[in-house]
Symmetry: C2
Subunit: 210 residues, 2 copies
DNA sequence: TTACTTTTGTGATAATATTCACAATATATA
DNA sequence: TATATATTGTGAATATTATCACAAAAGTAA
């Protein structure tokens, strides 16, 4: 079973589109419709599905409910995913209180900081001292953590997370983190995203000029 | 000149690594060092450079200052990039006040919302009514906008932006936006990012089990 | 029931992206 | 200055990803 990051991201997008289409009253769907919704080709959709042995009905398409369920299973969403956030600054607290994650079965169960002013032991999503992270992670069997600390602290934080047993990190600090083979580190680098956009807009403007 | 999105993103990362290496006292750099810093292969670095006719010295590597300048030129960073934000909620205001963009020559010059409670006409980065966006964009020759409104408003907002003359959109709403050939729309979908991470962590845990 | 149409599923093919490998050459060394 | 060595720059080779194209299957209509 060959998979790659882009393929998995497309699965997420298919799922999201399927929820929308379902709420619009659709019960069955064709690769064509999904392709439109996600802006890929229909053979891309079918190929992605075939990689995961998702099959529909020739001429009948796919049943939306079944499809959503299969994709959720592939994406490991059968159970609620518990996630912690490290760094409760501007970005961290925006993420912490974002209701969109819980709708997707992702629950921010706690956050950690080193600034005592940020601590909130009694909230439904507590903000705790960083020292308590290892114990919390072990007790609650947390696998995923989000890093929203300044770049200068990020490497140090990731090391604490790894030794606590975290297996997956989503890092927002604009710096390349060193991990190990036991842990998947993905980066969201918004400076890079903006620069990329600026580049392609410049290309666009130039090629339109002629 | 063949380019692709990943290659441009790597250029951004090289640049970021170069600033760091420079601050550490380096003056010259080899493809090998950069490769380490960005976690790619050294031939990837050299190939990326050769695509843009960036050349170094055989045996002498690259001069950091020249390299930074060349990459900045490619990325269109010779002049300050003015950007607007639409949607001053939790995420939008985090981005609006993030100093990291200005360091990279990206300036958030104004934000727009429909909620009168958010308006701030007198701040250095004003929050203005959405109706004023078209005029502001034209007067200030803005090319880039960031969408941080709820998914339900995003399509409507992007249409206003396009007709105002915006050429590039960074969209944080978890929905596929329709644009046109005159405009580059890039998406940052954090739900998708997290789901992706969860998938690969599950793969990791499974393969470690055996 | 049969002919016709639509859509899937997938091997073959094409396009893209990365790595290899090595000649060319700039610098260091003796 | 001559020799040794490290590093670039890039075609060729490989690997990865996406598209094509069509046989097979399933629904529809007559
Ligand atoms: N704010 C944005 O819009 C934005 C955009 C792009 C990238 N980022 C990146 O995201 C990260 C957070 O940005 P922010 O604007 O929220 O910063 P911030 O300064 O508002 O918040 C950082 C938080 O991390 C905490 N912290 C610092 N060191 C820590 C440590 N060792 N352990 C635990 N907590 C620690 C601080 O107490 C603070 O609460 C930064 O790396 C930044 O570069 C932010
Ligand atoms: N907060 C997060 O951490 C987070 C994470 C992932 C994705 N997102 C996405 O980012 C977007 C913003 O999230 P948020 O948490 O900041 O939401 P929010 O509700 O805090 O803020 C939304 C803002 O947009 C404004 N708005 C609504 N309709 C508008 C319109 N038509 N024109 C201009 N402004 C309008 C609202 O007045 C509000 O100020 C959403 O699409 C959300 O799905 C947010």
């Amino acid at each position: 079973m060959k998979t790659n990051k882009l393929c998995i991201m497309r699965l997420s997008k298919y799922k999201s589109a399927l929820y929308r289409l379902k709420s619009l009253g659709f019960v069955r769907i064709f690769s064509d419709n999904l392709a439109d919704a996600v802006e890929v080709t229909s053979s891309q959709v079918r190929k992605d599905f075939s990689i995961f042995d998702i099959s529909g009905n020739k001429r009948g398409g796919y049943k939306i409910d079944e499809l959503i369920e299969k994709i959720n299973t592939i994406l490991g969403k059968d159970e609620l995913q518990k996630v912690v956030i490290i760094g409760v600054g501007k970005l961290g607290s925006a993420l912490m209180h974002y209701p969109g994650f819980e709708k997707e079965g992702i629950k921010i169960v706690a956050a950690f900081d080193i600034d005592a002013l940020k601590f909130k032991h009694k909230e439904k999503t507590p903000v705790l001292p960083l020292e308590e992270l290892p114990e919390f992670v072990r007790k609650n069997n947390i696998k995923i953590g989000i890093i929203t600390v300044p770049a200068t602290s990020a490497q140090q934080v990731v090391e604490i997370m790894l030794s606590a047993g975290i297996k997956g990190v989503l890092n927002f600090a604009p710096i390349q983190l060193r991990g190990n083979d036991d842990c998947q580190i993905n980066n969201v680098n918004l400076e890079v995203e903006l620069e990329n956009l600026i580049y392609f807009v410049n290309v666009l403007i130039k090629t339109k000029g002629k």
